[in-house]
């Protein structure tokens, strides 16, 4: 015990704190720019960490990871474009809030929820990494498929008023998700000879196009007079500060989402996007005021953000316990750990416990640092909406193009983004909801593969999804029944003849 205390005290030097702060700042910036991924940022900065001590180098990179998951909410709220795929659910309520002139409080809610979610998962990481990892290992193809099914039923919570259009949107998302390489048969599907989408459609150009570029096109329809003059809400200077009561009211949503985010983040192969959508939908179902969701609910923002930040800490669980990274950023982080001589596995916590505890301490400290930086930056970011649209929109469009290029150093991605820009524009004008499309797109790849893998393993037995035991518990069956239940509740509550 004393050893742990010593290790922690030794770790918290001014220099290390400075590195964490720098990392968090870089992370927020990276997250806030659509097209810049934390993967890329961490990858570029990893070599610097090679020459630092583990205590300085690793927390620096971890700070980036943290900051990015909060940073992604900023453009999601301000311009309806998630800065990272994980922030996709934040657009659902964040953007309506910004349009009502409450951008600042929305960003603050995102900040507080992100901090709380991340702290929660960091604590779980420190205390229960191994047990949780053991549970995560139970997830095989059968269980993954069941989880994807759960994710798809969630769509019913975000369809908006027209169920049919929501369904069509979801199906379009599935069709787009099917584009690329089929790993089971080795065939290429629907690539039309375009090399860029030979293995799948890039999520980042798609999001940039579907959300940001379509938004630019929609804004372009406004009257010139409206665009050229400073916006009417500019006197609000971006909005008011979040009231304590609003944060307090969202406490259950935050807690629930943190748990879900941590659980899903600990399973390698599931991403923050899945976690955030599931949390959002469950929050809506359990909320006292579900009708606010989609129109500017602080609870919705809280649920989405707490969840995706919880994934940040949880990501490290499979990465450090058995060396299988939960996401691309975790993969790079793992490389950085290894370069420092910190080899993932049980030895990590036995032989190098003092270093690890130092790192963990800094990881936790990163959260209040993020909170502080966030508070300072929020006002600045929220002010952006006060710039007149005729200047702001062109800059945003420029950033979209740059962002699309930077993602994979590929100009073809920009063309892809433009293509999705038109699609998004068309869909929005025809009043089709975009959220089902995005969720379905993200889930399709894993859903199809997992289903086929599970059937291969069960020799064609379809009942395996209900009967397979994992660790003495029918995990897959449970998730499927849960999905059916949730879907049933959704149908029950929504009368079919819906007035639009």
């Amino acid at each position: 015990m004393e050893q742990i205390f010593d290790a922690i005290v030794q770790a918290i030097t001014l220099q290390a704190l400075g590195m964490v702060a720098l990392g968090v700042f870089a992370g927020i910036t990276v997250g806030a720019i659509p097209g810049l991924t934390s993967v890329m940022a961490i990858a570029v900065l990893v070599p610097f960490s090679f020459f630092m001590t583990p205590i300085n180098g690793i927390p620096f990179l971890l700070g980036i990871h943290k900051g990015a998951l909060f940073g992604g909410s900023i453009p999601a709220i301000l311009i309806n474009t998630p800065g990272t795929a994980a922030a996709a659910a934040t657009t659902l309520d964040g953007y309506p809030l910004a349009q009502k002139g409450e951008a600042k409080s929305a960003i603050q809610m995102a900040l507080y929820s992100s901090t709380l979610g991340d702290t929660f998962s960091d604590i779980v990481l420190i205390l229960a990494a191994f047990p949780l990892a053991a549970v995560a290992l139970l997830f095989g193809p059968t269980e993954f498929f069941a989880l994807m099914v759960l994710g798809l039923t969630i769509i019913s919570a975000v369809t908006g008023s027209s169920v049919l259009k929501g369904l069509l949107s979801m199906l379009i998302g599935i069709l787009i998700g099917l584009v690329g390489q089929d790993i089971i048969s080795g065939s290429e599907r629907f690539t039309f000879g375009i090399a860029n989408i030979a293995d799948s459609v890039g999520i980042v150009p798609m999001l940039i196009g579907l959300f940001a570029i379509s938004e630019v096109l929609i804004q372009s329809e406004k009257k010139i007079v409206e665009l050229a003059n400073p916006p009417e809400s500019s006197h609000l200077k971006g909005g008011r500060s979040l009231k304590w009561i609003e944060l307090f009211q969202a406490k259950w949503a935050i807690l629930r989402s943190s748990c879900i985010g941590t659980a899903i983040g600990a399973i390698p192969g599931t991403g923050a996007a899945i976690a955030t959508f599931i949390s959002y939908a469950l929050a809506k179902r359990s909320s006292k005021r579900p009708e606010e969701y989609g129109k500017g609910s602080y609870e919705g923002v809280a649920a989405a953000e707490a969840s995706n930040s919880a994934v940040a800490g949880a990501d490290l669980i499979p990465t450090l316990t058995f060396g299988i990274p939960g996401s691309a950023s975790a993969a790079i982080l793992m490389g950085a750990f290894m370069a420092q001589g910190l080899r993932p596995g049980p030895e990590l916590f036995e032989e190098q416990a003092s270093t690890m505890y130092g790192i963990f301490a800094l990881l936790l400290v990163g959260n209040p640092i993020m909170l502080l930086q966030g508070k300072l930056l929020t006002g600045l970011f929220a002010r952006l909406v006060t710039i007149r649209k005729s200047v702001l929109v062109p800059i945003i469009l420029l950033l979209c193009v740059v962002g699309g290029f930077i993602y994979q150093n590929n100009i073809e991605d920009v063309k892809l983004a433009l293509f999705f820009g038109i699609c998004g524009y068309g869909l929005r004008k025809l009043k089709f909801p975009l959220a089902p499309l995005v969720i379905a797109f993200i889930l399709t790849e894993t859903a199809e593969e997992s289903m086929k893998q599970a059937l291969l393993l069960s020799d064609g037995d379809y009942f395996v999804f209900l009967t397979k035991m994992a660790g003495g518990f029918p995990v897959s069956g449970f998730l499927i029944l849960l999905s059916v239940f949730l879907l049933g509740m959704a149908i029950w509550k929504k009368p079919w003849a819906e007035a639009e």
């Binding site: 199906l171 050229a228 200047v391």
Partner: protein, 167 residues
């Protein structure tokens, strides 16, 4: 009945037919592995087929739904000439910009792109246009280079010119 939704439903249905009968057979480049897996579910066509069938079905439901809805929609038609025209121009400008990026590079194309858009959106004051159009691209490029060593497009034409000059 909502004419827009009706059109959309019909178009989607037609699309699903095209997809099923034309796209699926031609766009799935199958590999040899088929014989390894017994069972239709494993074929690469299966999921697309199932999905597009459901899609076609739901689009028909949409058509049926709009026909059923007797209430005449009084909403203003949103395909107004001028606003739509504006967004088309912006989109075309973006396409031109992307093309220019490949040929002239980032530094040469971006200022023109920005200037055009700001001007188009109504701000004619060159005291705003010029600084923004010049400073924003440079700051973006410097920022990305210094922090992430990312290189923005340099432009094919410029490279070729330089090639000629250097011999």
């Amino acid at each position: 009945m909502n004419r827009k939704d009706l059109t959309v439903g019909i178009i989607f249905f037609l699309f699903s037919l095209i997809y099923f009968f034309y796209l699926i057979p031609t766009q799935i480049i199958s590999s040899f592995a088929q014989t390894e897996f017994a069972g239709r579910i494993f074929l690469p066509e299966t999921f697309p087929q199932i999905t597009i069938c459901i899609f076609g079905f739901v689009s028909l439901l949409l058509v049926a739904d709009t026909l059923r809805n007797k209430v005449e929609e009084k909403s203003t038609p949103s395909l107004n000439k001028r606003p739509f025209f504006q967004s088309v121009i912006v989109f075309l400008a973006s396409m031109v910009y992307v093309y220019l990026l490949e040929w002239l590079g980032f530094h040469l194309s971006s200022p023109f792109f920005l200037a055009f858009l700001i001007f188009f959106y109504g701000t004619r004051n060159w005291r705003i246009i010029v600084p923004v159009a010049l400073l924003v691209p440079i700051s973006i490029e410097r920022f990305f280079w210094i922090s992430f060593k990312v290189m923005l497009p340099e432009g094919e034409l410029i490279n070729q010119l330089l090639g000629y000059i250097k011999g």
